[in-house]
């Protein structure tokens, strides 16, 4: 039942928000309801009975099944943390019709929650799209100058991917014994190797576009650049995890043979993607695009780790899903504060933040350290395990991917240098102290970053059951 509330509470709030015209009230409503979700998510961590099953489409043999294991829980937690954080941090941003904005955001949250819980393929597809559509409107209405064309490209691109996944679901459905969509019967579908390969490709494209994996990534920097930052935060902190979640939840268990066949190819592709994105990040001048490419590199590493199919690497990826979300969220909030106050995203025009707003600069450096996976930040734990798994698969692969560790240092420190250090630039000079709420959120996030970096054991415990399921067979 608690799982249903993750859908129910955001949707209720979203509908309620349509009626609340006043900006302040709307914001409070959004914050309170997303706060309730967060509380529920914390409660969920302590409970074990977390399945929900109801009849939905008897003609199609599709059921309304929700299920949460460690993998789901950790992502639900991430989603639950992200939304209140985003609402608080961006509360001072000016949006026309902010109630509609928040309402759409909450719909997105419901969709994301659904994706992470769905135990039925058709339901999964439903939520997958539910998470996408509000984002389309959010970006197109409240985004930057070129928002319409860019968002449209993003929408069609991802929609095409998910349609192919739908074909894959149909294909699997046709091969199950009882023609149902449940995870269980999908798992028991007897597929030949060729069929596995077909299904694998169909699912994978959807996930790869969502992640996004090189070379399917070109929608991402543009979209991140053009979207309102609150939406970008959702996209890069939570939405990109949908792809990785999909791989762990569906691709890996359903097509084990095809998965193993593609291991090396995918790892090589991911590693190329990591290096490629890192190199481009070095040359980015736009703060948002910078974070986008850095994110592509990190996601690529997670993908590579998952495809090594080693326990160590997948364990690393499991907790990195969470860690990366927090880190990138922090970076976005800092970027947003700077952009809102100075009106620029160009790194060239920044500088001297450390002098003008030292607290913000410290926070920025904190998240930048997490971005380059300094030890004792949460990212180190995940990346350490992932690289270790890569090394287990192939030492050379780990070495090549490891170059990204150096490249990450280069591009992140470049960014930090341009933003925080040097003489105070004209733009930065206009900056006021950041809004207290945003600052508080950043501090909480930073504490989380270091807390889970020093003592990540709870995250391991949380995801242990998923890991076991993946490797028990």
């Amino acid at each position: 039942m608690i799982l249903v509330s993750f859908l129910f509470v955001p949707i209720l709030a979203a509908l309620l928000l349509l009626l609340i015209k006043d900006k302040k009230n709307a914001q409070w409503t959004a914050i309170i309801f997303s706060g309730i979700t967060l509380v529920l998510a914390c409660q969920m961590l302590c409970t074990n009975m977390v399945d929900f099953d109801k009849s939905w489409l008897p003609n199609l043999n599709s059921r309304f099944t929700l299920h949460a294991d460690g993998l789901s829980k950790i992502l639900i937690l991430l989603t639950a943390i992200s939304f209140p954080a985003i609402f608080i941090a961006t509360a001072k941003n000016n949006f026309k019709q902010s109630n509609i904005f928040l309402s759409l955001m909450l719909f997105t949250q419901a969709g994301l929650m659904g994706v992470f819980m769905a135990g039925d393929a058709l339901l999964f597809y439903f939520f997958w799209e539910l998470a996408l559509i509000p984002v389309y409107f959010l970006c197109s209405i409240w985004g930057g100058e070129k928002r319409i064309a860019i968002t449209f490209k993003f929408f069609i691109y991802t929609f095409l991917g998910s349609l192919l996944m739908l074909v894959g679901i149909l294909f699997l459905n046709a091969h199950t014994a009882d023609h149902s969509f449940s995870m269980q019967s999908f798992l028991h579908a007897n597929l030949t190797n060729g069929q596995q390969a077909t299904g694998f490709v169909l699912f994978f494209i959807a996930f790869a576009i969502k992640m996004p994996l090189f070379p399917f990534h070109t929608w991402q920097p543009d979209t991140y650049e053009q979207s309102p930052t609150a939406v970008t935060m959702v996209m890069s902190a939570v939405m990109v995890k949908m792809g990785l979640y999909g791989i762990l939840r569906w691709l890996l268990p359903l097509f084990p043979v095809a998965f193993m066949v593609h291991t090396h190819f995918m790892v090589v592709l991911s590693v190329i993607g990591i290096l490629y994105a890192s190199f481009i990040a070095i040359r980015q001048d736009d703060m948002k695009r910078f974070i986008a490419y850095s994110s592509i590199a990190h996601i690529g590493l997670m993908n590579a780790a998952i495809f090594t199919h080693t326990q160590i690497a997948i364990q690393g990826a499991l907790i990195q899903l969470f860690s990366h979300g927090l880190n990138v969220l922090g970076l976005w909030i800092v970027a947003d504060i700077i952009e809102q106050q100075t009106g620029t995203r160009s790194l060239q025009q920044m500088g001297g933040l450390a002098k003008k707003q030292p607290t913000l600069a410290i926070l920025l450096v904190g998240f930048a350290l997490a971005n380059i996976a300094m030890p004792l930040t949460n990212a180190f734990v995940g990346e350490f395990l992932m690289f270790n798994g890569l090394f287990l698969l192939n030492p050379w692969m780990a070495a090549f991917a490891g170059v990204s560790v150096v490249l990450a240092a280069i591009y992140t420190l470049n960014m930090v240098q341009k933003v925080a250090y040097g003489e105070v630039s004209e733009k930065i000079n206009t900056m006021q102290a950041p809004y207290k709420g945003a600052q508080a959120v950043l501090i909480v996030l930073l504490i989380l970053v270091f807390a889970t970096g020093v003592y990540p054991q709870p995250l391991f415990t949380l995801t242990a059951d998923t890991l076991q399921q993946l490797f028990v067979k």
């Binding site: 190199f279 030890p375 395990l385 090394f391 170059v403 560790v405 150096v406």
Partner: protein, 641 residues
Amino acid sequence: MGIMKILIAFILLWPLAGFLFNGLGRNYWSKKVIAYKATGYIVASFIASIFAFMYVQDHGAVTVHYFDFINAASIKIPFDFKVDALSALFLLVITGVGSLIHLYSSAYMKEEAAPHYARYFSYLNLFIFSMLVLVLGDNYVVMFIGWEGVGLCSYLLIGYWFTNGNYNYAAKKAFIMNRIGDLGFLLAIFWIIVKLGSVNYSEVLTADSLAKLSSADITGITLLLFVGAMGKSAQIPLFTWLPDAMAGPTPVSALIHAATMVTAGIYMITRSNLLFSHSELTQHVIAIIGISTALLAATIAIKQNDIKKVLAYSTVSQLGYMFLGLGVGAYSGAVFHVITHAFFKALLFLGAGSVIHAMHHEQDIRKMGGLKSKLPITHITFLIGCIAIAGVPPFSGFFSKDEILAAAFAKSPIYWVLGVIGAAMTAFYMFRLYTTTFLGKFRGTADQENHLHESPLAMTLPLILLAIASALAGAIGIPEIMGGHHWLSHQLIPIVGEPIELGLSHSLEWTLIAVSVGIALVALLWAIAIYKKKTDEAPNTVVGNFFYHKWRIDELYNEAIVYPLNRFAGFLKNTIEKHVIDGAVNGAGKLIQYSARKVRLTQNGQVGYYILFMVTGIIVLFLLWFNDVPIFIFFNKLTQN
């Protein structure tokens, strides 16, 4: 056990507490409070370290377990700390020298505003914490945590004056070069995990695990570890960051870039000596790179005019020596040199700091001169440091350097010859520095001359203490032929084993000592003779120019690595990303638009054509239905799967 758990926690947490208090309270506390706190915490840590050292003397090595850092998916990495003879020694050096430098800094940094003053000390405290984690860790991952931590602190401190773009650049360069090394270290850790399933010293550094590793494994692991050490300890080819790191405040250079952090590589290799001893190849590589670095840096140091640059290259050179020692198997000699070097190099840097302080941030030695009388304490202590580093007996540098040279000779006389040349150059450039700075006439501006003053007690006291240490530290390692019993190497037996029998006769050893000391003395006197009268102007010989420009290695790196990579990144960004990948996506859209424009022409508005198309359509349907039409076979194949 129980008491050690608390003690080690004390050692570690005091600096961390200092970091947090100073960092968070930087806007609230006065400079005095900040300085007292920061220094006090390190002194407290030093005292605790002394207790720990004594405990180890009595009870041997101790390992304490706090909690598991990573315990998942078949690997287990605990937060374990270990105090044994090696780490205890390092503890003392770090906290001891660290305390002095904190004290020194409290005066040196006085001009800074309170928040920045606090920031400085919090960084410094964090550095001590990281360094302690590095040496105390009982496994490679914890060492790596400290390893990266000190890199970070180094970055922060080099870029302490963050409004200066060049300083930031230097800081970034330091961090990135360290990262390259760290990558090697990381890969080595993975290799160890993959082969041995553990990273704990107690399980990796045993005879059992050696049996599990093939010789290729050992060579690979040790080479990768050495790559890590290269980055941290500024060896060829990753040494260029260290001279640039002089952008930081001088006490930082003394603490981090001379006494402690840069010796982490030596610590790590000494710690893993069991593995290194089993790879002949690695040992040779280390020795060759070590001696090359020593000579290269020495040649550069001869031509530098910036007081800190000279000391920096000298540090690189001395680190090279230490690696030579490691390469030839003289682990205890290397550690010995680390300790003595920590004292005299810290002393030299602090002395330089004192000079700079007096000279109002003038660092060019050509504009100094004749400071002997104006800065008496600084002068004396600096001279002691110079003598110590030049290897003149009975100062500490002589003993440690000699031990390395003896071992080098035993391995190969060529190493020894090169080592002696290096030692001579060291003596030469150090006394060039000393002479130009302190002797002769004052060459600075009148304004500077009027303000020349001896530094306050907080700065001179550390100088004096370090000078005493530099002079006397040799006592812990007096070799047996001189009647000592080499306390240090006995201390280190649990770590590096019994000292290797060099197999050199006493007379030969004495000869070697005599030759090396003799050459060093000649070089020393020669330097004084030359530079007493004149200063080095811009070099005019080709070789001199070459040395003056640091072998143009920075330029080489820029041309060969940085620019091409930058160009490559630009190529990826502007060409591949924009035109190839995004071009393909947009091209698909354009293709649809284009075909829309073409296909719509079939709809030309004339009934006759429409019906014509329909008739054609029917004919096509019939043709498709005929079995022998090729298109049929095509569709046939498509639909079959």
